[in-house]
């Protein structure tokens, strides 16, 4: 099992978990629960985008996949979060 602990996958996991907990704190402590907070939202969504991208690249092994798959999945992350932030700021 020690090889698992030293594996790159575990490093990615540790980062993802840390960042998940961090974003939870940012959300709960950073902004009053009843108010719009563009900073909190932007940070939280960007973190989510990075997490999604990392899971796709490393866990789903897209990093070693053909170009079309890399483009499609990265395009999904980029397109989705652009739209999400776009609609958010448009409505704020």
């Amino acid at each position: 099992m020690t090889s698992l602990i030293r594996s790159p996958l575990t490093i990615v996991w540790a980062f993802l978990t840390t960042v998940t907990i961090a974003s939870s704190f940012i959300s709960v402590d950073g902004g009053g629960a009843h108010q719009i907070n563009t900073t909190v939202t932007t940070v939280v969504l960007l973190i989510a985008a990075v997490k999604a991208y990392l899971v796709i690249q490393h866990f789903m092994e897209v990093r070693r996949a053909p170009l079309w798959l890399k483009l499609t999945t990265s395009g999904w992350v980029l397109g989705l979060f652009t739209l999400l932030l776009g609609f958010y700021f448009a409505g704020v």
């Binding site: 090889s3 698992l4 594996s7 790159p8 996958l9 575990t10 990615v12 996991w13 993802l16 978990t17 998940t20 907990i21 974003s23 939870s24 940012i26 959300s27 709960v28 902004g31 629960a33 009843h34 108010q35 719009i36 907070n37 909190v40 939202t41 939280v44 969504l45 973190i47 989510a48 997490k51 999604a52 899971v55 796709i56 490393h58 866990f59 789903m60 092994e61 070693r64 996949a65 053909p66 170009l67 798959l69 499609t72 999945t73 999904w76 397109g79 989705l80 739209l83 999400l84 609609f87 958010y88 448009a90 409505g91 704020v92």
Partner: protein, 201 residues
Amino acid sequence: MTDVAEGSAAGVDESVVDARGHVPGESSMWFFVIGDLLIFAVYFVGYMYFRSQHQDLFLQSQARLNVDIGAVNTVMLLTSSLFVASGTAAARAGNSANALRAWAIAFAFGAAFPLLKLFEWIPEISAGLTPGKNLFFMYYFVMTGMHLCHVALGLVIMCFVIRNLKTSAQPKISLVETGATYWHMVDVLWLVLFALLYLMR
């Protein structure tokens, strides 16, 4: 650079696989994964659009959610995915015993998700927070409900993979990879859901 967690020297040389641009698992599963990601993306964007029309309602409603369980569930899925990924690499390297163990642990973490969900939903529903309460809760229950169905299906697929690892001398790598791909997709979807429903303001 090799991602093989078990580092078995007698196993598959991952760098050869690198060069060919390997699509893990059946391509029909990738068709499903990409399509599902797109379908959920429409839901996500729809949610954000309607949220912008009802800011206060959504904010007030969000305050009633249990962020702690949401965060724990996120970590459950991430950990489960870690073991799926390492188990898959082990299977490819020919290390069935380690692969089986990793997938079994992954299943345990994955099964924690629906259990925790119950602890989240039941108090909410008892408190009158139902899908019909308002648009936020409708989105919340519909999206997490659809996601939960995906988790359930993923757990079933995991059972098939575990059975294959346990009973076959030579595990069906394409089955293992296909199951892994599906499960990671479930994880990715939740990462977005967690941010949209629980965290954003």
